[in-house]
Symmetry: C2
């Protein structure tokens, strides 16, 4: 229970429920679970190109020759790659920063994969870099920093902020509404 409680989202009650469940299951099943945890930890590393999680030295997305090499979408975390892949709308490559710039937590540009990104951009010369970083204070800082850094090389865009689809105007917070208004576009 003590070990289980260290997992995110697992409190004392859930830990107890999980522990009792494990005691009830056959030993082979639990060995398979334990082995899977060790295997995952041992086999999954980071792609040497984009730093997305990968069991191979270069990840599946970077190896896929059907994907557009001229667009790099920069995200803070591997989870964001998974979220964007689910949209099935993006066919370029990615670059995972491994976090956002956060001086309060001692995370500066050198703690992230920014140097590799700059090297990659100057070598590959992509046509567009899309910054897809969550709009927190740290996220904004990171976006602006990367914008300044990468604009000499190529076209840099950022994803849109505004009303979520299916969201109601009435329930949107003021900042989101203001951004939606500011980011308005000509109807085509």
């Amino acid at each position: 229970m003590e070990q289980l409680q260290r997992l995110p989202g697992v409190g004392p009650k859930t830990a107890q429920r999980l522990a009792l469940h494990i005691l009830k299951r056959p030993e082979t099943e639990i060995q398979a679970l334990a082995q899977a945890l060790i295997d995952a930890k041992q086999q999954v590393g980071l792609c040497s190109v984009c730093f997305h999680l990968s069991a191979e030295p270069v990840c599946e997305i970077c190896r896929n020759t059907n994907r557009d090499d001229h667009t790099i979408c920069v995200v803070s975390d591997s989870r964001d790659v998974i979220a964007l892949e689910k949209t099935r709308e993006y066919h370029g490559k990615y670059h995972v920063l491994g976090g956002v710039i956060s001086p309060m937590d001692g995370i500066g540009p050198e703690q992230l994969t920014i140097q590799s990104l700059v090297r990659r951009v100057s070598q590959q010369k992509p046509k567009e870099i899309i910054l897809a970083i969550s709009p927190s204070v740290e996220g904004e800082t990171t976006t602006l920093y990367l914008g300044q850094l990468l604009k000499p090389f190529t076209r840099v865009t950022r994803i849109a902020f505004g009303l979520p689809v299916g969201g109601d105007l009435e329930y949107a917070d003021e900042v989101t509404l203001a951004r939606a208004l500011e980011g308005r576009r000509e109807l085509d």
Copy 2:
């Protein structure tokens, strides 16, 4: 309790709680509440220009000469005017449709204030019409319909869709993420 239950969001339990509360309060207080309800219903009507709720024939926003006459923001409901006013970012005028086009509910353009809007636009000749309608299926239909209708007169824009501010990329639904990607803008 029967009457109270007709209010939105009031179920049997809340109705009982409200009813018991009312029985406990002094009569003068309850009379004031009852009078306020009647007064509101009798005095508040719709602005004859923009159809926003108003105690006067023409609402405060339409009468305010400090506001930009050249921009009309079209919303479906008076609640949306209140939400947009809270942002303090919009200084133009409004037009409240009184709903969205919804053939399933028998609401066509003629049930809304669209005719008045077209008349208003052709007379006032605003420089921009901003469509700020929630992105439901009916909302999209209404936006596209109004776009076609108003484009001959002036510039027609719509508010941006994308990631809500403070929202996390990871938790955004796929459609919102796809729209955020599609609506990306050059970093300035």
